[in-house]
């Protein structure tokens, strides 16, 4: 076994650490977080390895699929903004792939898969009944405060982590508005957007090009909005988009979820580090959610 809580919890049913009673679910803390993060980040959780069965694989846009997986251990603990690492098996594939958790229920977990390469292609072609290997929940999530006013800004598959967030905000009596940017109209997952519309006061969608009522990027739509109406901002999308948002939002309370190329997903390989004002940090372990002001955007 490797060397962190994952590994211990991993086979929790079989044995516990010497001299230690098996701790019940909810009591085991992710030790790194416990030690190094401010209070509101502290969440009790287990990182587990789970074999999940594909319940449904639904195509929701030209290149987007929603994969619903049968999961008990991971789904019950996942917080908005956290991710899972999936083993993809096929020609030329060896590493696990990180995906934000799109939605959870007590028995299932869903992921929004945008086809960009071999791994995502493989996942998009899975039939129901197939088994996938997941490690999660990983990383730290968004801060959800009740009765707040928030603006969610997403680009492309950034919609994935914002979906669970918007649900959690809705459940905690918070008001949220949403802006989404896509590159083409056919990439817009209508069903997902409708879901957001049920929970948000206002959902604005924009596309880079193509026949659509609003052409432009998320920054263009942001200009229509009075930012003073919001206490908090959440952004998730391609680095280019986040970088473009930074001048508009830098003085505000903003949390960004970063995408990165990862190997291990648990903080051992240092493959996904980024520069921050507090030195280099690992997206998988210290993120994927960072405070916008913390990130060195010039070096991204």
């Amino acid at each position: 076994m490797d060397c962190r809580r994952v590994l211990y919890v991993f086979k929790r049913e079989e044995y516990s650490l010497p001299g230690e009673e098996t701790r019940s679910e909810g009591e085991v803390y992710h030790s790194l977080w416990k030690n190094s993060l401010p209070l509101h980040w502290r969440v009790s959780m287990n990182v587990v390895n789970e074999k999940c069965e594909v319940i449904r694989n639904e195509r929701v846009s030209s290149d987007g699929h929603i994969l619903v997986l049968n999961s008990r251990d991971i789904s019950r603990q996942t917080l908005p903004g956290q991710f899972v690492e999936i083993g993809c098996y096929g020609e030329d594939m060896i590493l696990r792939r990180p995906f934000s958790v799109f939605d959870v229920s007590s028995e299932s977990l869903s992921l929004f898969i945008k086809i960009v390469g071999k791994g995502t292609k493989w996942l998009s072609e899975l039939n129901s009944g197939s088994i996938v290997d997941l490690i999660g929940p990983l990383g730290n999530g968004f801060t959800v405060s009740s009765k707040s006013r928030s603006l969610l800004i997403g680009g492309g598959c950034g919609i994935a982590s914002l979906n669970l967030l918007s649900r959690k905000l809705f459940d905690s009596d918070s008001n949220s508005d949403t802006i989404f940017g896509f590159s083409k109209p056919e990439e817009i997952p209508q069903e997902v957007i409708e879901g957001f519309q049920k929970r948000a006061n206002r959902v604005l969608v924009t596309v880079d090009k193509g026949p659509y009522p609003f052409i432009g990027n998320v920054v263009d739509r942001l200009k229509e909005i009075d930012l003073e109406n919001y206490d908090r901002f959440y952004c998730c999308g391609p680095t280019r988009m986040l970088k473009a948002l930074e001048p508009f939002l830098c003085k505000r309370e903003v949390e960004v979820s970063l995408e990165a190329r990862m190997a291990c997903g648990i903080g051992v390989c240092y493959g996904c580090t980024i520069s921050t004002k507090h030195g280099s940090k690992r997206v998988c372990l210290d993120g994927p959610v960072f405070k916008m002001e913390e990130v060195e955007w010039n070096e991204m």
Partner: protein, 320 residues
């Protein structure tokens, strides 16, 4: 040996996975966690399932803190991973500071991996590491393909390898392991030179220099132009190198390179490795030391072998 005595021999006896690494000591298990796949932060340690691991190797430590290379640092190829992390680490002083509460508390042997840009840097790190207690050995990373400047050239000739090893062994209180790689040719003179200079073991192999180009962007797909390849794709290369060098030297060899299951591990033992080390697969399937241990136990039971040395002996008998 007739069937009955074989049965008697194995009856009630557990397969012995204890592994004698000479001056470095005896490991409870031939499975080692390779450098760079264990992280550096102490919160991992209390989570390690030590019963399935013989030793761990730290991420490579350099004299000064190192930021590592530009992103992207990780790529995937056919059955392989290419990385160009560039030895990101907090430097030897921070490492020593954290050692007491971190690595020093591990119940399994810890091998400290170090790298420098010059012989004097290697010696200085080795000297500073004398302050820490209880490490099992120091592994000299003479072959990381991800470091610029002179770092690369250490492995380039037997003399240079010999020089680093002998200077470090004068300074260090710990036994030394020389980590070599196939781009230093399969010639055993490199390993022999390390042996003569006082190394206690040889690690084979480090990642293999590799690159990938993003043709649409007309540039290298890695932030640092090129990197080091690991994973199952390099396994046959590593195996041959272990085989060649183990014929020629007496030192224990720690074999690594794409080991991803029990069969692979047994192959390396047959080729002449005393211990085996898991790198890339560790990050993909964290339970791999356990499954390899189980495989060893089963394999040795089936073939009536008492310890891992017998696996190698039987291979030699059949192939000489």
């Amino acid at each position: 040996m007739d069937r009955f005595s074989k049965w008697k021999r194995l009856n009630g006896m557990k397969c012995n996975l204890r592994t004698d690494l000479g001056r470095i000591g005896i490991l409870r298990n031939p499975i080692i966690i390779s450098s760079g796949t264990f992280g550096l932060s102490k919160p991992y340690f209390d989570l390690l399932e030590s019963e399935y691991v013989g030793a761990v190797v730290t991420k490579t430590i350099t004299l000064n803190p190192k930021e590592g290379n530009a992103q992207p640092r990780i790529l995937e190829g056919p059955s392989s991973m290419i990385n160009s992390i560039g030895l990101e680490n907090p430097g030897v002083l921070s490492f020593i500071e954290e050692y007491k509460d971190g690595y020093g508390k591990l119940e399994i042997p810890v091998i400290v991996s170090i790298s420098g840009n010059s012989v004097s840097e290697f010696v200085e790190i080795a000297d500073r590491l004398n302050d820490i207690d209880g490490a099992a050995a120091i592994e000299l990373n003479l072959s990381c393909p991800n470091v610029d400047s002179e770092g690369l050239s250490f492995g380039s000739s037997p003399e240079r390898i010999g020089n680093v090893v002998s200077e470090c062994s004068k300074t260090s209180k710990y036994p030394l392991i020389a980590k070599l790689s196939p781009f230093q040719s399969i010639d055993a003179s490199f390993a022999r030179s390390a042996e003569m200079a006082g190394a206690s073991a040889i690690s084979l192999i480090n990642t293999v220099p590799a690159m990938k180009i993003d043709i649409n962007r007309f540039r290298s797909a890695l932030g640092a132009l090129s990197g080091g390849m690991s994973g199952p794709a390099i396994r046959p290369i590593a195996l041959k190198m272990v085989y060649e060098i183990s014929r020629d030297i007496d030192l224990p060899i720690i074999g690594m390179g794409g080991i991803s299951n029990g069969e692979d591990a047994v192959e390396f033992i047959m080729a002449g490795a005393t211990a085996i080390s898991i790198g890339t697969m560790n990050m993909i399937d964290p339970s791999i030391p356990k499954s390899i241990t189980k495989f060893f136990e089963n394999f040795m039971q089936v073939h009536s072998l008492l310890d891992t040395a017998e696996i190698a002996q039987r291979f030699i008998q059949r192939n000489s």
